[in-house]
Symmetry: C2
Subunit: 512 residues, 2 copies
């Protein structure tokens, strides 16, 4: 039996338990508040104003504690699916609000407009990496650090959620982790408890970031890449691990030596794998977890195909040759497909084949259970198998065959969820692209249909850079305030995988 709540009615006439929801959201906000200490310290050493960072941190922690206080003495014995969905939607909506505060408070010249600050913070915490900042090099040190940190924390998001939220849930937790981390695949518990599982994933994430940082810093230290300072090593390692894409360099990864580019390419490939499988391979030393995985094979196939197509374009148009062409092709294919968004070249100057390949890659995404966005590999795998199964059924009616992934039958409910997600994804993408051109017409901004398609795809897919003026050497600064808000919404929807937000619009969600 549940214990009564003092200040909020238990299970109000709404279908969700708002007390439990606020409690969980408050927990996340308190943790995020602590993170502001890092940019505050940077500001201190940089001789800049510290108070915007402290004020934002205090606001987040205070807000979190207030929510906690409101739901004081509440014991959450159970949390329902709907409560969990609302938590996810709210966390990814509210955290970037607090994350945007210091940009406004510090009156960061290129980010002081609230709509721009919110875009940049949303882009950070959703690990999208698109920017409204035309000149990244001019940002203050603290802002630079906070941007990169927001990626890294955002990439940890699910694991933060797993540590702060899931252990408090008995029911729904598994489902939460399932929807957020592992996508539509069956979650495999790595530890005895969910809390233990989450901690291990978090350690893996931290450990891999550390290794990548050290390797990159070493490359700089031995003189192979003079631009790779320890700070740049951490900034890009954390950005790559979160598949975020922010870079303190205006030129993105083009600023670094070939060896650093290859290393970052490898980091993206690894970060684009399912963390549960990575854990089995790296920690439990069971390489079969990767080599025998259907999703890994399709991931490799897509990466190889995309690299080949880009290579053909680069070689035949004479943009690059030799190792340089292979590096540019592999890096850009990996960066866009894993939804990182780094660039080693301005791909907007490449031809139609490269443009089409990169646009299609924005709809591919990395593996489920990674920090990447977009549709994700395992869903494409399931779509292919659903199509094959249902086609066979068109020929032989009455024969009912299951869809398998890794030899295991996927239940029909999971298949329907996959289809639902993909349909919603394409629907929201199309609406977003249409919204951008409508607003472009209203605001008198010249916006081509293709650029709108690219920007909508790059934002809902949490990729970051798109085409045209929003390309890797440009920014989203040209968009009107309303369009910036639309793009912010697309990043949010993409990150929470739409369904947690879309269900809020159904009547039945709010019914008991």
């Amino acid at each position: 039996m549940r214990q009564r709540v003092r200040r909020m009615p238990r299970r109000p006439s709404l279908g969700v338990d708002l007390g439990a929801v606020f409690d969980l959201v408050g927990g996340v906000l308190r943790w995020i508040g602590v993170a502001f200490v890092v940019p505050a310290l940077v500001a201190l050493f940089d001789g800049a104003s510290v108070w915007p960072w402290l004020a934002a941190g205090a606001a987040a922690t205070g807000g979190g504690m207030l929510l906690d206080l409101l739901t004081h003495e509440r014991r959450i014995d159970r949390i329902g699916t709907r409560d969990g969905l609302l938590v996810i939607a709210l966390v990814w909506l509210l955290v970037p609000m607090f994350g945007a505060l210091p940009y406004v408070l510090a009156q960061e010249p290129q980010l002081k407009a609230p709509v721009d600050a919110y875009f940049e913070a949303m882009s950070g915490f959703t690990a999208t990496g698109g920017t409204v900042v035309p000149d990244v090099d001019q940002l203050s040190a603290a802002t630079q650090v906070w941007r990169q940190l927001s990626h890294w924390l955002g990439g940890m998001g699910i694991i933060v959620l797993a540590i702060a939220v899931l252990p408090r849930l008995r029911v729904g937790g598994r489902r939460l982790l399932q929807s957020e981390l592992a996508g539509p695949t069956e979650i495999e518990r790595l530890g005895a408890t969910i809390r233990e599982t989450a901690r291990r994933l978090w350690s893996l994430y931290v450990g891999l970031t550390l290794v990548a940082t050290l390797v990159l810093a070493f490359v700089g230290w031995v003189g192979l890449d003079d631009a790779m300072t320890p700070w740049q090593a951490f900034a890009h390692a954390s950005s790559a691990m979160s598949l975020g894409g922010f870079s303190p360099q205006g030129a993105s990864v083009a600023a670094f030596a070939p060896i650093s580019q290859w290393i970052l390419c490898l980091v993206m490939v690894v970060a684009g794998l399912n963390f549960l499988r990575l854990f089995r391979v790296l920690v439990q030393r069971r390489p079969r977890a990767l080599t025998r995985d259907d999703e890994v094979r399709l991931y490799g196939f897509f990466l190889a195909s995309a690299t080949t197509l880009l290579l053909v374009e680069l070689l035949s148009s004479g943009i690059a040759s030799g190792e340089s062409a292979l590096r540019m092709a592999a890096f850009q294919a990996t960066s866009i497909m894993t939804t990182t968004g780094f660039a080693t070249a301005d791909y907007t100057t490449w031809g139609g084949l490269a443009t089409m390949t990169l646009l299609l890659l924005m709809f591919v995404g990395a593996s489920a259970g990674s920090t990447g966005g977009s549709i994700k590999i395992v869903r494409h795998l399931m779509l292919f198998r659903i199509m094959r199964r249902d086609l066979a059924q068109s020929a032989h009616r009455g024969v009912q065959r299951p869809v398998r992934v890794n030899g295991v039958v996927v239940d029909e409910q999971a298949l329907r969820s996959t289809v639902l997600f993909v349909l919603l994804y394409l629907f929201v993408f199309a609406l977003g692209a249409l919204g951008l051109v409508i607003d472009g017409e209203r605001a008198g901004v010249e916006l081509g249909a293709f650029d709108a398609i690219g920007s909508a795809a790059a934002c809902i897919g949490n990729v970051g850079p798109a085409f045209g003026s929003a390309g890797p050497n440009g920014s989203y600064a040209d968009y009107s305030n309303l369009s910036t808000a639309i793009l912010t919404g697309l990043m949010w929807l993409g990150r929470v995988e739409i369904i947690p937000v879309a269900v809020l619009l159904t009547r039945s969600f709010w019914r008991p």
Copy 2:
């Protein structure tokens, strides 16, 4: 029990009954052969060579009779689903081959290359209306007539099929008609027999074409539109009824007076309705069949929204104003959404909002049970309802609710078919667009990603004109031979709704 066949083994080791399939395809070819008499007569009066038309007609009729002979004395008591699917795929592949013959034989200057002739014939019989002819006005009279006639016959395709094929089927016929004509909605029999139903639909199609021709000719006769000769009246009325889009005028419908444009707009709106419902309203005088139909409402909503968006673009960019702007917006929205492809203006010069709207409309299509292509309204309706149902299910697990159209529960098998079709459609579209840019790179043709997207969408959707050089004032002549073949394949796949072709690629199709 079946009777034994003499020359072909009954039910060979393949899973399909090729004897029955060839018999049905042969029947269609014999009828198509007769149609060549019309352009032959035109060539005769025009003083041009008659033999290419007679030879093509003889080839089609002879080919059909040969197939009939091969399957001599066969009594088709039953035809399976797979046989029916193969018939559909073959009919739409072979009829355009014979249809293309006279273009090659007559050495029509702009159509003498076989790949171009096949494209043009496929575009005709699939009622797509895209052309590889840069200068339509220079085509011979017989070619002009054959192009328009191929639309009209193509639009009748399903009814020809219904008359020649379905009465011979006991099982599968209903399913055939369902997949071809009514799309995913339940077919409603209008007559006592399927043959009777088909005849009535065919009469309606002929009757509506006649009425539209007479109205347009009357407009020309009373001097309201000097360009509207009786020939132009028939050419455009038949093109509009089949939602085809070929025009003997290089300027398409821009060559005519506003009143003719409004009339053609209305014809397209009517032709884009479900013919089964049109029959109920016009012949059986039951207007509720339309006013109470969910699909009709969504059709109206899409048309009104698209017209509004185009109007906003035209007015705000100052391209047109007043009645002219409304006419251009309504005409173009109707033409592209119903997949006709007529134009009253070169919409490729319009801005991003119009371009995006028109591109999205290419994925909408007309009603099921019309001669239009693309995804079609009722499928969008079902997708919306599937999404709504499955979202509600995400909030309240375990509650299983049916999806209804017009108050009637749609069975889960039909929903799955709808989803399968839409996924296949988008998949083939993406592959087609990618194929075009790959081939563009190979052939050294400058092809932007957006133009490739537009051309693939316009061809698989059986719309016709696209963007860029393939716009309404242009043609597909710039594409390489291989790309022309890709586009021809997309028109074919779109017309047969992919599944009849896609199942041929599954192993189980060919198994008994």
